[in-house]
């Protein structure tokens, strides 16, 4: 007998999403990247138990799963902070001063790209190009694309998160 959706734990729900992706792709090894996308969107990162689970279900050696998970920039093996600041380091943003934004955030919060503040509040990430070149320099603050940034404006957004 299957449990009704209401009594499923959060973890079981996430597992179901992962299983659904694998089933949709016929449990073939080539579904690996699609499945990892689902794991990451369900958990926010690729956790070790999920990697093992996916390896087993798709009949792919764990070493290969780990290889793929670490090869692609979109995947992360570490949980992210409550808020995400993704600075675009594309060419147009570079020409318009994205390095200055990166320096300012790194210095103010003592984090390098890919790191999260100690209190788990803010993750600093970088992107190769957001394709929002008309707004350069641009960033994704949580879900919103914010453009024409200056170091001051960038820090102001992050400061707002701290206080909320």
């Amino acid at each position: 007998m299957t449990k009704s959706a209401s009594v499923l734990t959060a973890d079981e729900k996430r597992r179901r999403m992962i299983v659904a992706t694998m089933r949709k792709n016929g449990y073939t090894p080539d579904a690996l990247i699609e499945t990892l996308h689902t794991v990451q969107s369900a958990y926010g990162y690729l956790d070790a138990p999920s990697l093992r689970f996916v390896a087993q279900e798709l009949h792919v050696p764990l070493s290969k799963v780990y290889g793929v998970a670490t090869f692609y920039h979109a995947f992360t093996l570490k949980p992210e902070g409550k808020h995400r600041c993704i600075l675009c380091l594309g060419t147009a943003c570079y020409i318009k001063g994205s390095q200055g934004l990166l320096r300012a955030v790194s210095k103010a919060y003592h984090i390098a790209p890919g790191e999260t503040t100690e209190d788990g509040e803010i993750s600093l990430l970088t992107a190769r190009c957001l394709g929002s070149c008309s707004l350069a320099p641009a960033a994704i603050m949580d879900e919103d694309v914010v453009g024409n940034l200056t170091p001051e404006r960038t820090l102001a957004v992050l400061e707002g998160w701290k206080q909320s």
């Binding site: 699609e34 920039h73 995947f75 060419t91 190769r128 190009c129 394709g131 070149c133 008309s134």
Partner: protein, 558 residues
Amino acid sequence: MIQHLNQPLTPEDLPRIAEAEHAADSAYEHTIHVCMAAGCLSQHSDQVKQGLEQQIKERGLTHCRVKGVGCMGLCSAGPLVSVRPQETLYQAVKREDAPAIIESVSSGAPATHLVCSTDRPFFTHQTKIVLANSGEIDPERLEDAIAVGGYQQLAYVLNELTSTQVIDQITRSGLRGRGGAGYPTGLKWGTVAKASGPHKFVICNADEGDPGAFMDRSVLESDPHRVLEGMAIAAYAVGANEGYIYIRAEYPLAIQRLKTAIRQAERVQLLGNSILGTSFNFHIHLRLGAGAFVCGEETALIASIEGKRGQPRPRPPFPAASGLWGAPTLINNVETYANIAPIIGNGPEWFANIGTKRSKGTKVFALAGKIANTGLIEVPMGTPLRTIIHEIGGGIPGGQRFKAAQTGGPSGGCIPAEYLDTPVDYESLTALGSIMGSGGLIVMDEQSCMVDVARFFMEFCMSESCGKCVPCRVGTAEMYELLSRIVQGRASMGDMELLQELCETVKYTSLCGLGQAAPNPVLSTMKYFRDEYLAHITEHRCPAGQCQFEAVAQEVQL
């Protein structure tokens, strides 16, 4: 309209739907187009659209309606709103401006404070083939695509032409791959068609990895059915029944619109089994990239679709002979597929008449950097850089002087002011040490340090190198170190020679295009801006004033 589009369509249905759409259109005196592509959306054009709809509802207007459309091109002036049929364009529209726009529609007098003049080179100097429907149709409605002739070329091809005739038309058009290298499309199709095998695949490369390039994203967001139609025609020509679109996960809107478009087309058998009542079957699957630049290389892309690490392999065998799962595979870029239906519709001679002797048709460019009009443009091949930058692009803002144009992303080069009159085509750009690339065009002014630009691209190539071959894996890291030394004022003249030598080695010995082209930004800047390199090395001075030597020197001591 909806009842038509739940059952399989026949070729005769297409003009009927188009006619019905036009009739429905003419019931409205005015249609207000609101750009719903990523550039304007990130400036809240969705709220503008809501505001306009609300105004129409509140005022009980029946003679005008609002339509969400794709990219209108001038992204820097977004959100853009265009009132039809007058073609009055409004820029930087906010939700609060909705009443003024609706009033202007009723009164007939434009809301002057928002008007964006369309009588200027940005709009008048363009020739639109790929972007013809972009900004005109609602990308989320199949009926809109059919109303402008969508899928009619597919119907024509399936019923009237043999696969050899299709390939012949594409060959005669002179179309070349728009992904960067410019391989003749007809030749590629012919090779895949001749290859033997029980299964063949068609792949659309939408892994637009060049930073500063957003052409493919805009095409997919603005007119996804055009790309699907092009892929289906290609599949028919080469004898494939399955296709993949490999798209960057960083483009959520384009992914969503593609998914919608595929679902719509499948529902009425414009894709899937027995397309348009014929015996031709073609299924399209979406595959999301995961943020690896090297996956733009065709063999790496194939590895990634197979669920593996995106590492290239030596060619031959080329994918045309042995590609996805070992089967003959056709890979083309988004823009290449978007050119197919117009070529079939207007004839190969029409297409071959546009452009230069060896580069036919148009090219879409994403203008960005230090330029007044950033956005998406489409110009005939052979248009001089000067026209693109100073007329269409509106020149350099802030009274600065033009210094260089960068084309082709990390695989391209920097073109200095003295070559501004170069016609933009595959051969001319290659001769200058750059490449056409996928169409990113970044403009730099006097404030950009060209050595640091070269270092920026080398950092990119270094971290995007897949690590499979030594010249690229080690070479890019070493070149990056040498360039860092130069911008920090720690380099000697010997380093400069070493850098030159290393560029040659990496260029000629790397396995795939990423490594082979990685030295291009360095080689082109060393050629055209040698004095800047020398100023850094011998005088510890950055002519652009970007590099901070003292600060770095202190860090080094620490």
